[in-house]
Symmetry: C2
Subunit: 699 residues, 2 copies
């Protein structure tokens, strides 16, 4: 670090009151926050003041930890390791050979200048822990202060996002950031049950979570399709229920330690009494219908469920959760509880007799009985219970947490009765919806009927990566970068809702995730290369600009997917949200709104590129049977672009088209909008707007 | 699978006698083997007979394992898991939704048709184990037979490489392959000491090794820069010697199991008595000079060495190797032994006195004494000793193995005295040399002075990935695809030496490695994206076509590299061997040899692309200080291409150029050939050949 200007820069000018209610704006078209065009911070901090000057980054940069002798962190604490990772990433981005040996003792590092960090105490990985920090960048030095070392971690991520360059080299712009999260529970659920995702997948996603200040990995460990954690007490569970694809306990500990180092809790979920086929491969006697059972390959809601009337399951769960409570240090343990349809219960006379005998009215009550028994077991082993909406019932203790997948109303209902909740409805990233949809979904919307005290019971939310349709090769592209938008929703002020600015900042964040090993960008071309069977995949990249995977659950209607199906087709290479398609839609809207001549030129160039792409695509299909399914996509894109070019020419001349022309084009576009190869041409809608605009005869 | 033609196809036509001595050819310009242009198999099998017909691959494809009840493999043996992986990879490449649930019981799979495999007995992971197999592809079915399940694994890799496509879909061409390796020790050394490479790096490289039929992971676990394995007996070793970057014993067991599943031995190396600084951080008292010691950050040969005269080190090694012998099941344990310069020994009076007292003449003899003590310890714990050249001395038992890094002569010397050897000299893949250089380097060259019995003592060889200049981000591109050429050298017949055909097959093999998670292709652009700090890196990709990292040890002369340096610069994105540069050189040679008009056109197009690339590169540099070091490379490339275009024009007109012109261009090219940004413009030589060809006045 060298000082470019004076010791202390005068504070000035731009105070970004991003947290302030004054910046609140309608969801439809909010005013851009003042950070727009200035900083790329994501999530937006609670407060940012931009100052004069630049802190220069060069090979002399030093970083100094707090006094090793004191209680605030020895050489091997969490903050120290975070500082080391920060310096590695900084060196990686800048290519600088830093003089400092930052992993060894730093007593030699001068007390002045450079980067200094300090914190009050080691943070505990619990909800409501202090994650706040203050980051002051001045030309002469950078000071990062926090109440806990977890706050230090958050601050380092902000600092790295501030890295900038000019003609003289790299620098950090001088700022004062005061920051703290809006919600304390900012989670990502990874479903390793339906498809197994090994340690390296989990670790790189933990790194990505830390980069956007998320703090809970919700580890969905068991499903009909797989039991993914080693049990030493009941080894049949993982041995028979996983096809050999499970985490050993050593791997689980490794993951927890890795997460801890990044200030991330690991909450395990064992989904019972339904979603439990894989348990019954080893223990058919615990199911509500006779076995034998095999690992489920298909996806959906299945009948097998634990038999709550079978008294032998409770000692089993007692021993099992005792083991898991010892393995997972988090105070919360998730018991699932979703989608129990009760078919096995209804068909089992003994269970019906049990209900009658105990005055249990219906299956909901039977599940409540089951949950009550489980609650005692969890409590005995020191865990607080978390479950999906279905587990909620008034009699439960107030320290449980309800996770809503069905809608925000269940959280409202629970909060009104004093229960804590987290929101996942609206954050189903497996459904391949645009980031915008998740971004504008608020755990506590402005129109929430809750009072202030009740609102405080909404702890936050979780993005959910259900894994029916993802493998280790594709999961990153289904999580990132869209989940960064959700992370901002959980961290930043409710008033931070500018969609355009979110997308602007999503680009650099997405690029930054690559340095952590995320595969969301690079595997696109890898999958295309494999499909093509040879180099020269540009036509496929061009086609992919206009294509997205089918949204919601539509893709399941296209084929009978199983956990053994290949996820290596063109649709799997396409990210859930195409930046090029989004940009095209924006251009069209801008053009139609103001007849912007430059937008028209860019629209024409894009339409021509997509239209002329069909012949090169066809040439690739000859060598690749696996690609042949995309021929309709490519053909329809070319046809739609032809219509778009006709419309654009009309609009630029200020002419219209007869109704028959518009009808014919509308038919063509409707055809082009149909799913093909499990994907859809998402640019057809914008082309349709061009066509519509010049329909109806001369203007 | 469906049968396109009759039940049994008539054998016919092309018998590829690739193993036969009759196909032997001079290294300079060998005749292409008959497989050229027909099959992409790498390594080339011992014998391939191509037959009529195609085995069709469709969603009905089945695979049948041997009878589960018999001794030849139950449902969870190594071959079964390999079959499952084969089917997953096949589905991945073809996008086919296979009907068969191949991970569960296959008793339902019909005995006829489909793929059937069988083997005589489970293989043992020992040298000289039977790895042979026979693969018969007929239109009606595929039969893979082997003496051991390891042979089955090798056969599945061959079968996957046979996958082909035509207008009807995917198929396997009908062939009869009879195959066995030439050498029994086909290794890859990965140095995790100088840079740590975590479990996921090791696992994906094990997958890649298996894909090209390599069978030994030489795990270089300790170095001056790091002690990378957990010791429960002496925890100070990894706790103080690794910066927290080590393999837990659970991770080691995980790696060994993963390797075992792929028919790969894991041989650990603990490099002593030199290369051992990291051991002394915890145990300075075992060094030959007083401490304290810190983990070494620089690279080179360092003084610290164990003190052979210190009697206390032997009980230490006894306990340590007892622990490691229990952790690593391989019968061999490598003790390193290289590059002990003895400076600490010379400076220590007690050691000098010890030598005198015991009649030890010099430091070599002192190391031999040390090795003799170690040999007893290893023998006690059931391990055979392996070491680098330096450990060789006549009195050792005949079951040790000498690994030669200094040259083939040491193997010749050892073999003449009845010792086994493996060759690594010539396979130093860290030096960024072309694949060709390694490919033509034979463990037992045709002119070997050894007799047949002595030749049999040369067990094979190992590619060595020393890790001074690689990180987990770049290591794959330094290992692959070049190591596949070495794998062929170790597996295929000595007569398989056609360099052009090797390169032809290296392309598909390299592409195929991506499906196993290897990052050698995709990280090129990832590093360039990070450097550019924004999308639009095409100019960097174009420049990289003409650039390779400096070869041999030249890069160390460009900067003071340490284990903390960034390896994220332009040079780190450039693969060791540029296919585009190689092709350019071939084109130039073809043009100059025959004045091929088409080659001239392609040369011009390439030269123009490179020449016109400079302005776009400059535009990128403005935003990226880390990229600015490449400006001379880009400028020199543009200048050199200008000269090349002038020369090409002359040659095409049949004209020459005056001597002054040639001299001026030669000066310019000499300047362009100088290293910049730790890399070099490798296409300058070929441009120089164009310039030379038209020098000396009119033709």
């Amino acid at each position: 670090m060298t000082c470019r200007s004076a010791k202390s820069a005068p504070v000035r000018v731009i105070v970004l009151l991003l947290l302030a209610a004054g910046a609140s704006a309608a969801a439809s078209a909010p005013a851009p926050p003042r950070a727009e065009g200035i900083l790329d911070l994501l999530p937006v901090p609670a407060s940012v003041t931009i100052r004069e000057g630049r802190f220069r980054v060069d090979q002399g940069l030093t970083i100094a930890r707090p006094d090793a002798a004191g209680p605030k962190g020895g050489p091997k604490d969490r903050a120290f390791r975070a500082a080391a990772r920060f310096m590695t990433r900084l060196a990686g981005r800048t290519g600088l050979f830093l003089d400092q040996d930052f992993l060894a003792s730093q007593s030699a590092a001068a007390a002045e200048g450079g980067i200094r960090y300090s914190f009050g105490r080691p943070g505990r990985l619990l909800p409501k822990e202090d994650e706040s920090y203050t980051l002051a960048v001045e030309p002469a030095g950078i000071v990062l202060e926090a109440g806990t070392d977890i706050g230090v971690l958050r601050g380092f991520e902000t600092l790295l996002q501030l890295l900038s360059a000019d003609e003289k080299g790299y620098y950090f712009p001088c700022v004062l950031v005061t920051d703290r999260p809006r919600f304390t529970w900012r989670g990502l659920l990874i479903d390793v049950g339906r498809h197994f995702h090994p340690v390296d997948v989990i670790k790189r996603n933990l790194d990505a979570m830390a980069a956007v200040k998320m703090n809970v990995l919700h580890f969905h460990l068991t499903e009909d399709q797989g039991f993914r954690v080693e049990s030493k007490v009941f080894p049949g569970l993982h041995e028979l229920g996983s096809d050999g694809m499970f985490f050993t306990q050593a791997q689980i500990r490794d993951i927890i330690e890795y997460a801890d180092d990044r200030g991330i809790r690991v909450m395990p979920e064992f989904d019972i009494p339904g979603h439990s086929t894989s348990w019954f491969v080893a223990y058919p006697e615990f199911a509500s219908a006779p076995g034998p059972y095999g690992i489920e390959r298909k996806f959906g809601i299945f009948g097998p469920a634990f038999d709550p009337s079978n008294e032998r399951i409770y000692p089993f769960f007692d021993a099992f959760f005792k083991e898991m409570a010892g393995l997972f240090p988090d105070p919360y343990l998730h018991i699932g509880g979703d989608e129990v349809e009760g078919h096995q219960w209804d068909a089992n006379p003994a269970i019906q007799a049990f209900k009658t005998k105990h005055g249990i009215a219906d299956n909901n009550a039977l599940q409540a009985y089951f949950n009550g028994r489980l609650l005692k077991i969890l409590t005995k082993h020191g865990k607080k219970m978390v479950g999906w909406d279905e587990i909620f019932q008034p009699g439960l203790p107030k320290d449980i947490v309800i996770q809503s997948w069905r809608g925000p109303q269940s959280l409202v209902d629970a909060a009104r009765q004093g229960f804590q909740g987290i929101l996942s409805n609206g954050y189903y990233i497996d459904l391949c919806q645009p980031a915008e949809a998740h971004y504008l979904n608020d755990p506590v919307p402005a129109d929430s009927p809750l009072d202030e005290g009740q609102r405080a019971l909404i702890l936050g939310g979780e993005a959910t990566m259900w894994s029916e349709l993802v493998t280790p090769e594709t999961i990153d592209s289904r999580i990132w970068p869209r989940t960064a938008a959700i992370a901002e929703r959980f961290w930043s002020a409710a008033s931070v809702r500018n969609v355009e600015d979110m997308y602007r900042r999503l680009g650099p964040v997405s690029a930054g995730l690559e340095e952590l090993g995320l595969l969301h960008i690079k595997n696109v071309e890898m999958i295309l290369r494999r499909l093509a069977g040879r180099p020269g995949i540009k036509p496929l990249k061009v086609l992919a600009e206009a294509v997205e995977p089918l949204e919601d659950y539509q893709r399941h209607g296209q084929a009978r997917y199983t956990s053994l199906s290949p996820f290596t087709r063109f649709v799997d290479a396409c990210p859930p949200e195409s930046p090029a398609a989004r940009r095209f839609g924006t251009l069209v809207d801008r053009f139609l709104a103001g007849k912007d001549r430059a937008a028209g030129q860019e629209i024409r160039a894009v339409l021509v590129r997509w239209k002329d792409n069909h012949a090169p695509v066809l040439a690739l299909l000859a060598a690749s049977p696996a690609l042949r399914e995309i021929e309709p996509l490519s053909l329809n894109l070319a046809r739609a672009c032809g219509s778009g070019l006709e419309a654009l020419a009309c609009l630029e001349k200020g002419e219209g088209q007869p109704a028959a022309w518009a009808e014919e084009r509308a038919r063509l576009l409707a055809e082009a909008a149909k799913p093909a190869a499990h994907a859809e041409l998402v640019v057809v809608k914008a082309i349709g707007r061009l066509v519509e605009a010049c329909a109806g005869g001369p203007k």
